[in-house]
Symmetry: C2
Subunit: 235 residues, 2 copies
């Protein structure tokens, strides 16, 4: 009743539903294991069941909800173990990307990577977390692209997307910005040297540290009812 969808910014209806539902899951408004009734959701957002169904499909593919035929959908229960497993995978994937980047990046790609990385030092000095976070995403994307392997890229981006809800607060920790830059520096240096092994381990360590900083934010541990909006797409 209260959900007037013409207020929410556009895109196809399904996209809106995906955003709306994933937001409610990620913010803890919908608790893990909770049943997602199609009719209720449709009524809640004032749309028909059709886009809800498709949204649930997509969310299922994203790993945020689980669907069983003829039995409806529930909010995915992400255990501490599963979360750890995802971070672990992320570390391995980033390591692969870094290794491949060290071997395969073109001269131009290397130049840009290094230049942008050096430029980001400014954000660290200023303590500009917002801007650094933005750069950070771009930095990693550059690494994924540099691997020159479309499928690795897809796997990595997908995994990052699944992890996005859990890593929001990583730069809140004091000194994290400077440390992150140092870790990036190790990766960049190794890549510039073409040292794939070093690049791989540096990348893996980088993610592992982020992992530890974020592990506290498992969905199940979050208090109910948080409603502030934030982007769920990791871009």
């Amino acid at each position: 009743m209260s959900g007037k969808r013409n207020l929410i910014r556009s895109g196809t209806t399904v996209d809106q539903m995906v955003r709306a539902i994933s937001d409610r899951i990620v913010t803890g408004f919908l608790r893990p294991g909770e049943k997602l009734d199609e009719a209720s959701l449709a009524a809640r957002f004032d749309v028909s069941r059709t886009p809800i169904r498709e949204a649930l499909s997509r969310l299922s593919a994203m790993g945020l909800v689980e669907r069983r035929p003829n039995r409806g959908a529930t909010v995915a229960v992400v255990t501490q173990e599963h979360l750890a497993s995802m971070f672990e995978s992320m570390a391995e994937l980033e390591a692969i990307c870094a290794r491949f980047s060290a071997e395969r990046m073109t001269a131009g790609e290397r130049r840009t990577l290094e230049a942008e990385h050096q430029a980001s030092a400014r954000f660290v000095q200023l303590g500009a977390e917002e801007e650094y976070e933005l750069f950070n995403t771009e930095f990693h994307t550059r690494l994924y692209r540099g691997a020159h392997s479309k499928h690795i890229y897809e796997l990595t981006v997908m995994t990052r997307g699944r992890l996005a809800p859990f890593r929001r607060a990583q730069f809140m920790l004091p000194g994290r910005l400077a440390q992150s830059w140092q870790e990036h520096d190790a990766i960049v240096t190794a890549i510039m040297r073409g040292d794939s092994a070093a690049a791989g381990t540096a990348a893996k360590d980088h993610v592992s540290i982020v992992s530890e900083a974020s592990a506290v934010f498992a969905i199940g541990d979050r208090p109910k009812g948080r409603t502030e909006p934030f982007p769920t797409s990791a871009s």
Copy 2:
């Protein structure tokens, strides 16, 4: 018209459509880049557009078709490069699984792995390709499970599923059975020793060789109109 769906064995209608369409893609009856019109497909299989749409969504998630909003779906064009990228990813993923298996498998898992592997030697002697192929799938699944990392497992199984259409003929090559067993043996030996590095490289090499044997079978290279049935699910 000709598509009597009550003859096709059961499961939900969407499942049938997924099977039917993916079969037609994989057998080359539907060519890469070809437009998939929802209405036509619905008429062809004598169902409504609703399950067709959901099937296309799933196939899109599987990577077999590509969808663009408001512009319909097309059969995914898998280039030689993309295929190589998938095999490369597969090699890396299997390497990770093997490494983790070497480190984390329980005593029971190791015992079973070794026992089953030894038992499979019999299939090699007999030249029982069918049975060996079945065992082979199970062997690799055991490896993925042994990594004790749910997300790595998911990524690996997903990638294997995407590759399944392209690796059918790998055991047709003469001597491939025996060679495959030898490669498995190297992996198993390393895992039993707990030598994760050796297990990783052995697994990577194993996949790389399979990759070379299968690379010829890119979808684009296949003649049109092949209709013999074969399983599309990699189980």
